[in-house]
């Protein structure tokens, strides 16, 4: 590595004097772009100022564009590798087919969301439609209707299986006569979820 020559303390050239007076502004990023460019240009051509700058702050040594020489062979090699990669990507895209447009993707996502919503509401419909919980033919008041689970008994009792989703009703055993069904929001429409809570004391350990 070359060591810096002693910086010239008294520049005779006025441009050198201006440049040297701007070092601090350069370092603190306070120099406007044109002056900054001029300073860099000057440093490139003036050995004395370059040495003075390096003596002021060694990082001034890097204040210049370092031209990375890429040989023609290297450049060709990079281009060839890039074009091979591009060909591979194009083939991959051709096999996969064109990517659907953004609008189409958003549309598909929206359709899927709507389908899911319909499915969910249908599920709740099954839960609600066959027999709304009633007490003696009169609909149970909303919120905390408490129903005794006795499926085969009088009409005063609610058919508990009707409160369960269809998929569960086939396999799930009927709750014991001691079971209490809490039906919150029994009169819920399609938009509102229905919450049913069964407490079966017969299962207590």
């Amino acid at each position: 590595m070359r060591t810096p020559s002693a910086p010239d303390q008294t520049p005779t050239n006025p441009v050198c004097a201006i440049v040297r007076a701007s070092f601090e502004d350069y370092r603190s990023e306070a120099l406007p772009a044109p002056q900054r460019r001029m300073l860099r240009e000057h440093l490139r051509g003036c050995d004395a100022c370059r040495a003075a700058a390096a003596a002021e702050d060694p990082t001034f040594r890097f204040a210049r564009s370092l031209n990375e020489t890429v040989s023609e062979g290297e450049s060709r090699e990079i281009l060839s590798a890039v074009m091979t990669g591009v060909d591979l990507l194009r083939t991959e895209r051709r096999i996969r087919g064109p990517r659907p447009s953004r609008r189409l993707r958003i549309g598909s996502a929206a359709a899927a969301a709507v389908a899911a919503a319909v499915l969910v509401s249908t599920g709740w419909g099954i839960l609600q439609s066959p027999a709304m919980p009633t007490a003696g033919g009169v609909p149970v008041p909303a919120s905390t209707a408490m129903i005794s689970a006795q499926p085969t008994s009088s009409s005063a009792h609610t058919d508990v299986t009707a409160l369960q989703p269809a998929a569960m009703s086939e396999d799930a055993p009927a709750p014991s006569p001691d079971a209490i069904v809490y039906d919150w929001n029994p009169g819920a429409g399609r938009e509102e979820p229905r919450v049913v809570w069964i407490v079966d004391r017969g299962l207590d350990i």
């Binding site: 070359r2 060694p58 990082t59 890097f62 370092l66 020489t69 290297e74 281009l79 074009m83 990507l89």
Partner: protein, 208 residues
């Protein structure tokens, strides 16, 4: 024969187009324009990547990734903005990602060893580079190991690529004050490292 001649003519015409026009044509699927763009921008991208990742071999790998990314994302290029900013953003981000990988970090820390090796295996490319540039390049590789990826990228973009602070903020996706902060810290760390590794460079310094 005529086809070859017309292709050469086409390439000649395309080579004279400005960067922006090349990018627009490449976006429309013109591969000759894309090839011209790659050839034209290779030295700048390799140079930037080399300063950040620390060695020429990795820089060439990064450059390939950069141009592949450019091809894949060319439809996103907004021709109202400078191509260089967009290209530097891709190159800087990929270089930082590369540097973050453990393999590359090991290489960066072993910069001094690499420096010796590089001197021994002086390639044809090194020979063509001016001696002073080569010297500075090696010096930077040796003293920049302690910079964070962002500090290094900011310093390289500002001092070696001569980018504006605003442009660097755009490239890195951060504020201008953050850029200035990174720059200030990078200078401080570099000064410290130079004092540690090359005290002869601080001889005659008037202030710290």
């Amino acid at each position: 024969m005529e086809l070859v001649y017309s292709q050469q003519q086409e390439r000649g015409k395309v080579a004279e187009l400005p960067d922006r026009d090349l990018a627009i044509r490449a976006r429309e699927g013109d591969m000759v324009s894309f090839e011209t763009l790659v050839t034209r921008k290779t030295p700048a991208v390799v140079s930037l990547a080399r300063r950040i990742v620390g060695n020429a071999e990795d820089a060439r790998d990064v450059a390939q990734m950069v141009f592949l990314r450019v091809w894949g994302e060319i439809h996103r290029y907004d021709s109202r903005y400078s191509l260089n900013t967009w290209l530097y953003r891709i190159a800087t981000n990929l270089s930082i990602d590369f540097l973050r990988s453990s393999r590359s970090r090991e290489r960066a820390h072993g910069a001094t060893l690499h420096l010796v090796r590089e001197r021994e295996e002086a390639t044809a490319a090194d020979a063509t580079r001016t001696a002073e540039d080569a010297e500075l390049s090696q010096l930077f590789e040796a003293v920049s190991c302690r910079l964070s990826e962002k500090q290094k990228a900011v310093f390289v973009l500002r001092e070696m690529q001569d980018c504006e602070t605003r442009e660097i903020a755009e490239i890195l996706g951060c504020g201008e004050s953050t850029v200035r902060n990174h720059l200030f810290n990078a200078r401080r760390i570099l000064r410290k490292e130079m004092a540690r590794l090359y005290p002869e460079f601080l001889r005659g310094r008037t202030r710290s």
